[in-house]
Amino acid sequence: MALTGIQIFKLLPKTNCGKCGIPTCLAFAMNLAAGKAELSACPFVTEEAKAQLAEASAPPIHPVTIGTGATAFKVGGETVMFRHEKKFENPTAIAVLITDSMSDAEVTNRVDNFNKYTYERVGLKLRANAVAIKSISGDPSKFGTLVEKVAKATDGALILMSDNPDVLATGLKICSSRKPLIYAATKANAETVAKLAKENSCPLVVKGSSLEEIAELTGILNKTGVNDIVIDSGSRTVKQALQDQIIIRGSALQKKFRLLGFPTITFPCEMTNNPMKEALIASMFIAKYAGIIVLSDLQGEVLFPLVVERLNIFTDPQRPLATTPGIYEIGNPNENSPLLITTNFSLTYFIVSGEIETSKVPSYLLVMDTEGLSVMTAWAAGKFVADLIATFIKKSGIEGKIKHHKLIIPGYSASESGGLEEELKGWEIMVGPREGSHIPAYLRNLKA
């Protein structure tokens, strides 16, 4: 059971020194409880209180960071089974597989795609996260050469894969400063591989043939001080692998079973030979609880939908995404093209811009900052009303791009049209449809 802010407050020094960046211990305690501050920011907390707080506030699924710098990512740290309860915290990482049995050209091609395939959406850059480098040959020097090559070719996070501790050691020698994920400690090699993880301060995958075996292994590793663990349940059938994901998350969250309280890694690349089926399996794991998914190859047609699905699933249900306000040109508009306005709730933007595109009528779309609220909500909150819209239009610079003075407002904002005509002297305010799906017909009629 997590502590309340008040319970935490009682364990703090109550000096109100402000050294944590928050003016009072009470406010700091409340922020700790809300997950918005770290205990380590307090210089005066006693060791005893620290231990007590760490125990009580340890997340049920341990968050693990893989990689360094701008491409580092975190997995785990989840607190709920269903995303409507609270947001899913750390988006599933996508990795591409590279092996030492691939040709040089193939390796280059895969790393290039990994680097190149990035997508912009709602101002975010979406991309795959890691390269999994696997030793098939078992030859340490061959693996070392490959790791060196990949590490040089990309700044992405790395996963080093082999059953053989010597092979892993060779790889680590080359790239341990990049904090790669080591794959994997098994019953057979746990001790040696755990030592590697400790010496190099790298996270480690535990692979077992059953969840029981895995829990035993994580227990042993915890005792040796290895905590940054990722679980591979070993299942390679779709049904069993899904069930493992659900049981691992459920036992950590609902049963507070610490030995399975770690993020997972899954291998769609080992579940089918069909790249499209593989991507579909990956999409299942994004929704259902995988920390990392390893794909055999990255193609734009599968990576794009996967990263967008991931964005959707990991959106905070209580904080809708906002898109960047401004002027959007759709289909090469000219000075006579229609001008529409909407709010910057990302879903509103996607629907409206998509429908304008469908209409094939080149248009300007003005997206106004309403703090991510939809048209109706923004209007009700007084953020999408005549005087604010008028100010936005005047400042937007749209008047330099068009010759006419006609503005199409959303149907749900019809009541603002009078006010707008008053505020925007010389403009004609036209009330568009209420539903996005009626925009194409509306624009075509306008043109006719």
Partner: protein, 314 residues
């Protein structure tokens, strides 16, 4: 090391609903656990995929979606047959796009005659989906109910603003209705109650939570569907123990990204991109609780059916 396997405290199950007639009739629903949580319960009937056809030639489909049906696209009957005989469709969904008042605005009698022809020509269950224009759907769908008496069709969407007349016709001519609500679980529950109040039998209702594609608000319907399942399975909410139908294909194939050409913006092959967006959107709907998914592309459907088989294998 003993693992503590968490058990969801289920207390209810989704109703079983039979649609269609004869040997090819299909029963959906009956699950008593979250979707594919087969270590906790059973899915008495696997989720089904209905193949989508239009009642008139499509206007804005990308090439990839037209291609599999190019030879039948002008004839709804031939189209439906091709779906069944070539692509193994277990259900057909006919979208009544020609009746849209913002488009060709075809009259109810003419539209219903097309449905009748299709219904007479096939033996699998038939879903008839209007344009969500309340007035027009009332005319078209009531007429469809009448001319297809006893075909055991699935008729939708039936919404809060037009349910009375359409549901009355469905009761009279023994068709199943799709209660459709705008991504809102309260309204979904309310509509199910209203339909019950005017006499629609519990086993003649499916519900449509209003779904969307990946990238276009999929997360909203995903969560609403999860909530529906939670309420029906763990909170004994009888009014939500209703199988869920998702009219998904049309949402995916109208998105901006499936219309972009090959390799645009690093998005790879256009055809496969469309197939993947449809299949992944369907996968999400299945995981959230969909019992019937209406889909468009045969290859996306094939992939999804494989996944359903894999996930429910004994």
């Amino acid at each position: 090391m003993a693992i503590e396997i968490p058990k969801t405290p289920y207390s209810g199950k989704v109703r079983e609903i039979k649609v269609g007639k004869g040997e090819k009739a299909i029963t959906v629903g009956g699950e008593n656990s979250y979707p594919f949580y087969l270590f906790e319960g059973t899915m008495t009937h696997k989720p089904r995929i209905a193949m989508e056809i239009l009642d008139s030639p499509p206007q804005e489909w990308p090439q990839a979606a037209i291609e599999p049906f190019a030879d039948v696209i002008n004839d709804p009957v031939a189209w439906a047959k091709k779906c069944i005989h070539t692509y193994g469709a277990e259900m057909i969904a006919i979208q009544m796009v020609s009746t849209d008042p913002n488009g060709t605005n075809r009259g109810a009698d003419e539209a219903a005659a097309v449905v009748k022809k299709v219904a007479d020509a096939i033996d699998v269950p038939l879903i008839v989906w209007g344009t969500a224009n309340h007035e027009k759907d009332t005319q078209v769908l009531t007429r469809v109910c009448e001319v297809c008496q006893d075909k055991r069709l699935i008729i939708g969407p039936v919404e809060e603003k037009d349910y009375k007349k359409i549901a009355a016709a469905a009761i009279g001519y023994k068709q199943t209705v799709v209660a459709s609500s705008p991504i809102d679980i309260n309204l979904a529950k309310q509509l199910n109650i209203l339909l019950g109040n005017i006499g629609v039998a519990d086993d003649m209702i499916l519900m449509d939570p209003t779904v969307s594609s990946i990238g276009y608000g999929m997360e909203y319907c995903y969560s609403v569907m999860e909530r529906m399942r939670m309420a029906s399975l763990t909170q004994q909410d009888e009014k939500l123990q209703v199988p869920i139908i998702c009219n998904l294909g049309k949402e995916v194939w109208k998105s901006k990204e499936v219309h972009l050409p090959d390799n645009e913006n690093n998005m790879g092959n256009a055809k496969n991109r469309g197939i993947m967006m449809e299949a992944m959107s369907a996968m999400a709907m299945l995981l959230a609780g969909g019992d019937i998914i209406i889909m468009r592309h045969p290859e996306a459907i094939k992939l999804i059916k494989e996944m359903i088989a894999d996930l429910t294998v004994a």
